[in-house]
């Protein structure tokens, strides 16, 4: 991963490997968490995203490699799914509970509560049970809980999964605001457009980092050649559909007469996965 002079390395993982029994969940994965930046960890189910985030916050001890993170009181962690909130408590009670854990009281708590709930659009839902909120509202509440104590490292495990597009825009604004406030934000996602909007991202596939860097760097380092047409130009296992268009990939440079396309993140990640498959076989 590349660093610019203005972005000092703060926290992260360095070549961490995590195994569970015979399964290698992470293989020498390096991730930088930089203050003021959003680092996106992208990949599908089982790619190792949750394992990487849990390793970063110290909940999983890696077999090898180094982890650096601030003290746990300076970390905010939002777990995936519904587990980030207490379903049987109201919105306000959820805030009270987490505030108590962080010894946050009085005027400071009142200020944080008002600021976060307003930003999340939850100010009129304070008496509702968290379990009765829509998916989007619940995730926004979970976000508020993770950031209540103003952590310097904020780790979000799939904050936007199952969240509708309108709430996703809200969530992205909350995440942006945390980074703008100086926090190092690390978030996992299955949405590639969120990777494109991050400052840096890491593409995970079956425990391995296929690529990492700024989205621009990743897009300019597509392996091989991607072309588009109405039918596959090579073996079907090396092609995929994008609407009515068919993309084709091969490992070499563009052949004479071939018009490579400027791959977007979707095409790039598929090309990376195909290149990786080819290398392993």
């Amino acid at each position: 991963m590349t660093h610019t002079d203005t972005a000092p390395m703060a926290w992260g993982t360095n070549k961490v490997t995590v195994t569970f029994g015979n399964t290698t969940a992470l293989r020498e994965v390096t991730l930088d968490a930089i203050p003021g930046q959003v680092t996106a960890v992208v990949g599908g189910d089982g790619a190792g995203k949750t394992t990487l985030l849990r390793t970063l916050v110290g909940r999983i001890r890696p077999q090898s490699g180094q982890v650096s993170a601030p003290a746990s009181t300076d970390c905010g962690f939002m777990p995936t799914g519904a587990s980030g909130v207490w379903q049987e408590l109201t919105v306000d009670e959820n805030i009270d509970f987490v505030a108590a854990a962080h010894h946050l009281t009085g005027r400071e708590l009142a200020r944080r509560r008002a600021e976060l709930l307003t930003a999340a659009g939850l100010e009129k839902a304070t008496d509702r049970l968290a379990g009765a909120l829509s998916g989007g509202m619940r995730q926004k509440l979970a976000f508020c809980l993770a950031i209540l104590h103003q952590p310097r490292l904020l780790i979000l495990d799939e904050p936007s999964t199952g969240v509708d597009p309108v709430s996703r825009v809200d969530l992205w604004r909350l995440i942006s605001r945390a980074a703008a406030g100086g926090a190092a934000v690390v978030m996992s996602t299955t949405y590639l457009d969120e990777a494109e909007r991050s400052s840096t991202c890491i593409v995970l596939n079956r425990g391995k980092a296929l690529a990492s860097g700024t989205p621009q760097t990743i897009l300019t380092h597509v392996p091989g050649t991607v072309t588009t047409g109405t039918a596959p130009s090579g073996p079907p296992e090396l092609s995929w559909r994008r609407g009515r268009q068919t993309r084709s990939w091969h490992a070499g440079p563009a052949r004479p007469g071939e018009q490579p396309i400027l791959a977007d993140m979707e095409d790039t990640v598929i090309a990376l996965a195909l290149a990786d498959q080819r290398q392993e076989s």
Binding site: V166, R168, V169, S176, Y191, P215, I270
Partner: protein, 293 residues
């Protein structure tokens, strides 16, 4: 695709004709018309509570419209139309405590279809085979009886891009062979796989067409600046809907004039560009517009 046997003329596989569905005083679906023709992939988009699920339930025959009518294969949806329809719900609709083979024989008995060929794992419980294989199984079962219409609810949410591409390959192959496909999603990458989109907001169908047609000339603003953190903070403080794209500051539903003025009054400089909005930003604009009711 052959003509519809009940009508004698080629027509849409699925038609919603001014459908309204009320629950007490609450109108979940409000005068929605849409259709799915053979061979096309139609995406149904909308925020939570937009009415997608209720509309789908009326299309499947699981709910009766309060007003308007629904036609599946030219007739009111019932158990016979259901046989010509393949459905993959978001939760995949499999029996986790049965084996793969048992799930297959159950679905194939219900639809009197030939069992699909699936390698290995036949004896394992569905709950134990992992989400990827479960999804493949759900697709295979929905397709086993060669439905004329396929209804998919967020079919590839959470799936890694290569596996997602493979699943969409299957969907496109069905459409190429004449099957009509209706996809409900709030996943923009899935929306881009569709031929046509129908956008719902607060029970109404508010826009239809391709992604480009729906976005139209709606723009967003991007600010290029050396100090994005200060720019972000200033625009955020001014109450503007600001987000971050890398190290650029982005604002949906805001004119460049508004942004320039806000920057000026904060004593900041930055280059403001108007750029084409994303589909998501367009949906937010529609959803946040004051209701005219």
């Amino acid at each position: 695709m052959s003509a519809n046997p009940t009508s004698g003329a080629p027509e849409a596989l699925l038609v919603a004709d001014h459908v309204t569905k009320r629950f007490g005083t609450f109108t979940a679906v409000d005068d929605v018309s849409m259709h799915v023709e053979p061979g096309e992939i139609v995406g149904l988009l909308g925020a939570n509570g937009a009415g997608k699920t209720t509309l789908i339930r009326t299309l499947l025959g699981l709910a009766v419209p309060t007003e308007g009518r629904v036609l599946a294969f030219g007739r009111t949806p019932d158990r016979t139309t259901r046989r010509r329809l393949g459905y993959v719900p978001q939760g995949l609709g499999l029996w986790g405590t049965l084996t793969v083979a048992e799930n297959i024989s159950f679905a194939c008995a219900a639809f009197e279809s030939a069992p699909p060929a699936l390698d290995a794992v036949q004896d394992r419980l569905v709950a134990d085979i992992g989400l990827g294989l479960q999804r493949q199984l759900a697709f295979a079962l929905a397709l086993a009886h060669r439905p004329a219409l396929l209804v998919l609810d967020e079919p590839t949410s959470g799936v890694e891009p290569l596996a997602r591409a493979r699943l969409w390959e299957t969907v496109h192959a069905q459409a190429d062979a004449g099957t009509g496909v209706l996809v409900t999603t709030h996943y923009m990458q899935e929306a881009q796989q569709c031929d046509r989109l129908v956008l719902m907001s607060r029970g109404r169908a508010v826009a239809a067409g391709t992604e480009d047609e729906i976005i139209g000339d709606t723009t967003a603003c991007e600010v290029e600046t050396d100090d994005w953190a200060a720019t972000f903070a200033a625009l955020d403080k001014a109450g503007l809907p600001v987000t971050l794209t890398g190290t650029r500051v982005r604002l949906a539903d805001t004119t460049s004039d508004t942004v320039r003025k806000a920057l000026e009054s904060a004593g900041l400089t930055g280059e403001v560009h108007e750029v084409k909005a994303t589909l998501e930003e367009k949906m937010t604009v529609i959803d946040r517009a004051p209701a005219n009711a």
